[in-house]
């Protein structure tokens, strides 16, 4: 496996807050890399840096052998990086289908309008929005918007998919379905970098996990190793007995 994305010594601060500092890691072609960490650890900021929404203060981002540091987001998107946002950014006045079409039209494939319509319809169907295709995005529920974020990103047929908490707001059954969906995406050849606070999901999906804390890498490894890492437990997982007990309760 070769590195599809390589992040080297990346830093970004906001005033006095070091949101990301001197961070390095790689994402291999075809893998699912999980990204976890306490709230405000800098995970979403990292995504913003990768897809060019904000420029880094220092460091490099290399995608598929090309240095993309500082490129504007639409160029990055063309190169094949798509993203589902944590705080959803639907194009409220457009329908679900149109939202997805935008993704398809302007993503890596640069599809024509007609092709994009077909592709968008298929993808919307596949993430479970099939019956809401003509609903304006503004009328979707939170979870619906989350799905839409994902469908739109997928419609671009990216090489790297950045998923920022797409499982938040779903109930356990829905999460289980979504996990399958994400596995399917990976199987179609798309590399995934995902942020998630739902432990059960991230643990079962990820090939590897990177843990961020205060903008720095706290740990990196296979899910099991991470779950047992005392630093991670202290900073992030906490006394997991409580949650495991409630999850095991029924």
């Amino acid at each position: 496996m070769s590195a599809l994305l390589e992040v080297a010594n990346l830093s970004r601060r906001f005033g006095g807050v070091h949101a990301v500092s001197d961070l390095s890691f790689t994402v291999d072609e075809g893998e699912i890399l999980g990204l976890i960490g306490p709230n405000g650890a800098g995970k979403s900021t990292l995504f913003n840096l990768i897809n060019g929404v904000i420029p880094p203060d220092a460091g490099r981002i290399v995608f598929d052998g090309v240095d993309i540091t500082g490129e504007p987001p639409y160029v990055v998107a063309r190169r094949g990086i798509a993203r589902a946002h944590q705080i959803m950014q639907p194009l409220l006045g457009l329908t679900v289908l149109e939202n997805c079409m935008v993704g398809a039209c302007f993503g890596r494939e640069n599809m024509s309008l007609a092709d994009a319509r077909a592709a968008a319809r298929e993808v919307a169907q596949s993430v479970g929005l099939g019956d809401r295709i003509d609903t304006p995005a503004g009328a979707l529920t939170t979870a619906g918007k989350k799905r839409l974020e994902m469908a739109r990103a997928l419609s671009a047929r990216p090489r790297l998919l950045l998923l920022d908490e797409v499982l938040a707001g779903l109930n356990p059954t829905e999460i289980a379905h979504m996990i399958e969906t994400i596995r399917g995406i990976r199987r179609s050849g798309i590399t995934i970098l995902m942020i998630e606070h739902v432990m059960r999901a991230i643990m079962s999906l990820s090939d590897r996990i990177v843990v961020l804390n205060l903008g720095q890498k706290l740990a990196e490894g296979r899910p099991r190793e991470i779950a047992e890492n005392p630093d991670v437990v202290k900073a992030y997982l906490g006394d997991s007995t409580l949650l495991t007990t409630v999850e095991a309760a029924p």
């Binding site: 405000g40 705080i87 529920t141 938040a168 779903l170 999460i175 409580l242």
Partner: protein
Amino acid sequence: MTGSGRELLLEVEGLEAGYDGVQILWGVSLKVKRGTMTTLVGANGAGKTTTLRAITGAIRPMRGRVIFAGEDVTHLATHAKAARGLILVPEGRQLYAEMSVEENLEMGAYSARARRRFSANLERVYSLFPRLKERRRQRAGTFSGGEQQMLAIARGLMSDPEILIVDELSLGLAPVVVQQLVETLRSLKQAGVTILLVEQNVHLALALSDYAYVIADGHPFTEGPSVEIAAKPEIREAYLGL
């Protein structure tokens, strides 16, 4: 049948509501006893948020009644309900993005009843979420997702609620923070605050609460003590992924 305001704090009868002429809720009813924690469960899009919005008055119910502390408040404005202690921490956080953390918290304590306990409440939320205290001058809009969720909950607590309604309590929060929150809710309940919880982590919601209502497609589906609900096979399959 108004029920006595002393035991029954919030009573919702046959609520019907929707958006732009599209009806979403078809006769949802709830009863929340004083000092208990009740949960409302349902699949994505079932109408939980809509129910809460109809209760607070963000959308106007087409039919049905909302009775709070013995008073029919169905047609009161949202702010009037808030002034009576009916507090919602909304889905999607709804922060004052351009104002500082501190100012957000102050606005939470806008009503006369909340102002009285301002300092005590402020201390409580700061010790619950130290991050907020560290960053009290930061603009709320620049917070991370989880930090925003903390602030939204903190602001709700600042309102000194009679009943605290939380939509999506744990959304986007790190596990360690969720644990703390659970503790907080328990102690709030101990302190006599009534809680109505909507939470996608159904395991958590059922484990925490005393009583549960389940809605499906805007219709009441079933209800009962949380332990019993959690044990029902159809619930386990539909909501617990088991």
